[in-house]
């Protein structure tokens, strides 16, 4: 369950935390776009430097990020094997028993590794520094221009925020049921195949039952407070951009400029 800690909101009071969520999402999107420009390793160096500064501004330790990327090692090594078998361009690095490793295989894998790492850090930066509720407010605002073509932006934001809201609840619930069943002798690690199936069943069935119950109760509670779908509603929390957003957007846009110039 500890892996879920990756990207979980950490309540701090930093520069990044104080940014307007709308601009934070936009900034993240621009950073992502710049990661996908073929700007070579120099370009990635520039982006990495930028991201590293952003990490400093958010007061996240690099150690935490590295720890959360451990599961990627398996995927990357798998990718490296595939690449080294398939890619036959570039110069030959070495040749053992008829197997040739080409330089492009190594470079391609490195490329993907750098891209993935940057993407993960960028998204983590956003989710770590933004409350889920603010995030959905931002998404709602950013989607609102599409209302004209019939996109239910508020409903989408509401669905996202409810889903996000219930993730910790479901984790708690899962832990609780696991413990309750452990008290009844369930052992997920030991036992025969049939026993393991039963163990998983004893976890999933109660989880489903309580999720449906919760959903129904939530719907009732929302209706009782007068929630009507597609009704116009005002908002308690008003988003206001500050000078920080200008600074951040300025930084991100000039980074994009540099990247485009490098990839020309």
């Amino acid at each position: 369950m500890n892996n879920i800690a990756l990207g979980r909101y950490i309540p701090l009071n930093t520069f990044t935390h104080k940014l307007d969520p709308r601009f934070k999402i936009l900034g993240m999107l621009i950073l992502m776009v710049s990661v996908f420009f073929p700007s070579g390793f120099i370009g990635y160096g520039v982006i990495a430097a930028f991201v590293f500064i952003a990490l400093l501004f958010t007061k996240i330790s690099l150690k935490m990020i590295l720890k959360s990327m451990k599961p990627m090692i398996f995927m990357l090594s798998f990718l490296f094997v595939i690449n080294s078998l398939v890619i036959r361009t570039g110069y030959v690095l070495f040749n053992i028993y008829g197997f040739t490793l080409y330089s492009d295989a190594v470079f391609q894998t490195l490329y993907i590794m750098v891209r993935l790492t940057l993407m993960i850090i960028i998204t983590t930066l956003l989710t770590v520094s933004t409350k889920p509720m603010d995030l959905t407010l931002g998404i709602e605002d950013l989607l609102s221009p599409f209302k004209r073509i019939g996109l239910p932006s508020h409903e989408i934001a509401m669905m996202i925020s409810i889903a996000l809201r219930f993730i910790p609840t479901l984790i708690d619930e899962t832990n609780r049921i696991m413990k309750a069943q452990a008290s009844r002798g369930v052992d997920l690690k030991e036992g025969s195949f049939k026993e393991k199936i039963m163990a998983i069943l004893s976890l999933i069935v109660p989880l489903f039952v309580s999720s449906f119950q919760r959903a129904e109760e939530l719907a009732d509670a929302m209706e009782a407070r007068g929630y009507v779908v597609a009704q116009h509603r005002t908002r308690y929390k008003q988003l206001k951009p500050t000078y920080r957003d200008t600074v951040m957007m300025g930084g991100v846009l000039s980074l994009l400029g540099v990247i485009i110039w490098l990839s020309l």
């Binding site: 800690a5 950490i10 309540p11 701090l12 619930e173 609780r176 049921i177 413990k179 309750a180 069943q181 452990a182 008290s183 009844r184 002798g185 369930v186 052992d187 026993e195 039963m198 069943l201 004893s202 069935v205 109660p206 039952v209 309580s210």
Partner: protein, 284 residues
């Protein structure tokens, strides 16, 4: 064979920004063969404490002795099943743990996990069903089709069928109707008196504490601030008020009578004690 905590600390989510110290330096020994109540305000660490008793949580520091097992943080305890068979833990709102097709199968789930033969598990399950006051007609029903109170009984039967020596209950009567909760508490008392089981109950209900329990452990902010016999505990009114709880009705009535000029010397626990004392006073 004791159940004891020695200098136990417990931290949730250690080494993260979310770290929270739920138990602080707990030194505690429960009396075997008795009914002990664990009381205290919400968030005082009661549920965390009881989860140490069958090693669902391991102490961050210190030692927990449960029966013949020693549980510490140092080496991961192996083979916890035998411990969990002897220490039955009923969680808060246990009705959520039901999952089988029939009530009988659900109650048999525990014993079967502990390798009790099927035929014997069935006998144990039927007995447990009877103990919690449900008749045989329930055995083949689905555990999802019955009322909330009945679900609670089935869930508790699921632990009773395992036949543990120590029964730990986390707020077993929360949300039950008064009659149902009285029947429940009487069942636990009977299990204690007739079968000699050690019973630990986390509760908020002072009426249950005075009527059914022998000892009381009081927790506050992750610490044990009191551990006494129930009769001694209620002797001093301020002790109860310290944790923002009310005295049991009987003792409130006694207080009111004292204020009104009655004079009682002897300690009181049950309604009969009070009635006797009042009649003595009136005759005098």
């Amino acid at each position: 064979m004791p159940i004891a905590f020695e200098k136990v600390n417990f931290k949730y989510a250690p080494n993260t920004p979310f770290a929270y110290e739920a138990l602080k330096n707990i030194d505690l020994a429960f009396e075997m063969g008795k009914v002990t109540a664990i009381i205290g305000p919400t968030g005082s660490g009661k549920s965390t404490l009881v989860q140490h008793l069958n090693a669902l949580l391991l102490p961050s520091e210190g030692t927990v002795l449960v029966l013949d097992r020693t549980i510490t943080n140092k080496h991961k305890p192996k083979e916890l099943k035998s411990l969990r068979q002897r220490v039955g833990l009923v969680f808060q709102f246990p009705e959520y743990q039901l999952f089988e097709e029939t009530i009988l199968k659900d109650i048999m789930f525990g014993p079967l996990n502990f390798k009790v033969p099927e035929a014997q598990a069935k006998v144990l399950a039927m007995n447990a069903l009877k103990l919690v006051g449900l008749d045989e007609s329930f055995a083949e029903k689905s555990p999802l089709d019955i009322s909330g109170g009945q679900k609670r009984r089935v869930a508790i039967a699921g632990i009773l069928a395992i036949n543990p020596d120590v029964l730990v209950l986390d707020e077993p009567t929360a949300g039950l109707d008064p009659q149902g909760s009285k029947a429940m508490m009487e069942l636990f008392l009977r299990l204690n008196k007739e079968n000699g089981k050690t019973i630990l109950i986390v509760t908020h209900d002072m009426e249950h504490v005075i009527n059914y329990c022998d000892n009381v452990v009081v927790m506050k902010d992750g610490e044990v601030i009191n551990h006494q016999r129930v009769t001694d505990y209620f002797e001093r009114k301020t002790q109860v008020e310290d944790i923002q709880m009310n005295l049991p009705q009987l003792l409130m009535f006694k207080e009111a009578l004292l204020d009104g000029g009655f004079e009682f010397k002897q300690p009181m626990r049950y309604l009969e004690d009070l009635a006797e004392a009042i009649s003595k006073e009136i005759k005098r």
